[in-house]
Amino acid sequence: MSVKTSDGSSREDVSAAPAPPAPAHGAAAATPGGTRAHAHSVPRVVIESEETGVHLNLGDLWAYRELLYFLTWRDVKVRYKQTLMGAAWVVIQPLMLMLIVTLVFNRFARLGAGALPYPLFAYSGLLLWTFFSTAVSSSTHSLTSNSNLITKVYFPRLFVPAAAVAAGLVDLSIASVILAALMIYYGVALTISLALAPLFVALLTLFALGVGTLVSALTVKYRDLRHALPFLLQFWMFASPVIYPTTIVPGRWRWLLVVNPLTGVIEGFRASLTGEAVDRRAVAVSAITAVIVCALALYVFRRTEDTFADVI
């Protein structure tokens, strides 16, 4: 093949064209042209066969970054359109749950919660948990519910579950208003450690992104995972300190909380509200797990992504 030197060639073209297939450039390695509308920066795309293996192709994510915004915006918009109370639902769900668990565990079972008043304790846990479980389950369903797109147009499919998680984040911020109101109501003193709260939310988002992406990719291939998921999530909620403090867990069950990455996030988030010391070991477990899960999810997702259109 001759070396192309058209003015339409990109930088990458000059270096890559004379060489034999360069796996480093990845499958469908589009040059992310910011000015692609102009004829003089024509992107060069090489589509390699499945045999060439997995390419992370992160440049493509950057080139399409605006799509993530639009997909999130669509998910949010569609969710609140034509519902009678709109965004109120986001608040009602954790609020009602909080009232129920307060009644059952606090009033009936006399469960205490340490530094925080129980309703505030429960709400902060449920706020994070609702976000996490909604994010995971909606990203799991996202690929199959967007199958009309996936089988017709190319775009980084990773954005589909990612948008589902991001849309959950919007809900979370709306529901946080109630959290703030409860804190004021119970007269919780504001400390500097409150600045850590968004970091825990970010960590949780990362973790939700990892789990959601991983499960969504697996769901395309193994559909029965969809039926198992609600059950698994419910189990996970009771295995996490959402509605009870870690202190009530007897010693021989403690390990379950330690290996559960949600423990560090939820407990850390609560500690940042009260200004208590954060359990560094638990937070480290959460952070490391989140990173590992994300990396694994990215790999599995990329690995199966190219054939989504064939099996979905």
Binding site: M1, K4, S6, G8, S9, D13, P21, A27, A28, G34, R36, A37, A39, V42, P43, R44, V45, V46, I47, E48, S49, E50, E51, Y64, E66, L67, Y69, F70, L71, W73, R74, K77, V78, K81, Q82, N148, L149, I150, T151, K152, V153, Y154, F155, V220, K221, Y222, R223, D224, L225, A228, V300, R303, T304, D306, T307, A309, D310, V311
Partner: protein
């Protein structure tokens, strides 16, 4: 302009699909739990007995500015090829190199959300197709204007008529300005006026030096628009060349029995004790059997039959119907030679000569009959839909179509003479307005 560059280079591309099994396509968790642990996400390498090669060793080069037609039967691999080019799926084998952004109009409206308004969908769909927000904002008015939905931009698209929906969807995709545009049967949508707009848009896109891949079952449109056509069969490219030639080949392979029908010498042929049909065929002016004829050239329908009993006045009859089922004409042999003469026994071939520049483009079906006259008219033999062929119009400018590219109504399309005289010319030297008489504008 420089020599056209290769913008799409397809090398040995193959695509295998797993077929059969209890759950084609996807496995259940239990089924592959064992395999999952042993070798995570191993995928089929193809070649097994449950593998269908939807594409097999396809090599193709497409040059800049080309308008390439891709034709073939359903299941020939056209859609799979387009899916690979638009990166919806990855090939199992081979390699594709593309210079430029690929925009596809595979199915317009993909990604529209019924609950969102027209405006919101334009942005969403634009982003899905790969446009930047700034780019969409810049072209927004143009997109909405092209789709003619200005009044409804704030209405959720679920309240749109199907025409509005399709127009908006096409409009977004058409304004993507990709270097390579893939069009799959988009011309099948919308009314005639909108189809014309689409064709004009296609021409604009081409004039900007962009490349278009046009997949269609509409042979007249393919022949008219494309210079080069690729024919696919069973996952392979079986022919690649000048459009008329390839379309002809496709049509004759499609309708093996349609441009030519033979019954042999037996009793099974349509007819009775007096006459029996033996062969009917459509041929061009050189006498070659042809399933696709040029609109400008004459076409001949030949009827070969045996007269088995002496003493009858026999006349073949040909009726031609178009795609809509409208009868274009009915004609029987009124030639002087056998007009009122009883035929001796023997084999005869009669032909009806249809002049060029007479039939409209499209598919035509011929019913062939043989009647005997005197004393009464008796239908002796009849074969409904005995023959089928296509009349193909070219964009050469010398048919009744002139320079017009859109759909033309009418059962026939005669090339008629037009005259124009200047009645009144304001200003000096004024032969401006009235002199451009185009037949297509006469409507």
């Amino acid at each position: 302009m420089k020599m056209a560059e290769t913008v799409v280079k397809i090398e040995g591309v193959g695509k295998a699909y797993r077929i059969g099994g209890l759950h084609p396509g996807y496995a259940t968790f239990r089924e592959s739990l064992g395999g999952l642990i042993a070798a995570p996400f191993r995928r089929g390498k193809g070649g097994g007995r449950n593998t269908l090669w939807a594409l097999d060793k396809v090599d193709l080069e497409i040059r800049e500015g080309e308008l390439l037609g891709i034709i073939g039967h359903n299941g020939a691999g056209k859609s799979t090829l387009l899916k690979i080019l638009s990166r919806v799926t990855r090939p199992t084998r081979g390699r594709v190199e593309i210079h430029g952004r690929v925009g596809s109009l595979l199915e317009v409206g993909t990604g529209f959300h019924p609950d969102l308004t027209g405006r919101e969908n334009v942005f969403l769909n634009g982003a899905i197709l790969g446009m930047k927000r700034a780019e969409i904002r810049r072209k927004f008015d143009e997109i909405v204007g092209f789709a003619e939905i200005e009044k409804f931009v704030e209405t959720p698209v679920k309240f749109y008529s199907s025409g509005m929906y399709v127009r908006l969807a096409f409009s977004v995709a058409a304004h993507l300005e990709p270097e390579i545009l893939i069009m799959d049967e988009v011309l099948a949508v919308g009314d005639a006026a909108f189809q014309q707009k689409c064709l004009d848009k296609m021409r604009d896109i081409r004039q900007q030096g962009r490349t278009i891949l046009f997949v269609s079952h509409n042979m007249p449109a393919v022949t008219r628009l494309c210079r080069r056509v690729v024919l696919m069969e069973a996952g392979r490219v079986v022919a690649d060349g000048e459009s008329q030639e390839i379309v002809n080949r496709y049509l004759s392979s499609t309708w093996k029995t349609s441009a030519l029908r033979e019954w042999g010498d037996g009793e099974g042929a349509p007819g009775d004790a007096v006459v029996r049909l033996r062969r009917v065929r459509v041929c061009d002016e050189r006498g070659e059997t042809s399933a696709a004829v040029d609109i400008r050239r004459p076409v001949r329908i030949e009827v070969t039959y045996d007269v088995l009993e002496e003493g009858h006045v026999v006349a073949p009859l040909v009726e031609l119907h178009n795609e809509e089922g409208t009868e274009v004409f009915s004609s029987h042999d009124t030639g002087a030679e056998w007009r009122r003469r009883a035929r001796p026994r023997g084999r005869y071939t009669s032909a009806v000569h249809v002049p060029g520049n007479f039939l409209a483009e499209g598919s035509l079906v011929a019913h062939v009959s043989i009647v005997s006259h005197f004393p009464a008219t008796i239908l002796r033999a009849r074969e409904s839909s005995a023959l089928a062929f296509q009349v193909i119009d070219r964009q050469g400018g010398d048919s009744a179509r002139g320079d017009y590219t859109g759909p033309m109504p009418g059962v026939v399309r005669p090339l008629l003479d037009w005259t124009t005289v200047v009645e009144h010319a304001p200003g000096a030297g004024g032969t401006t307005d009235g002199t451009r008489g185009r037949s297509a504008d006469g409507r």
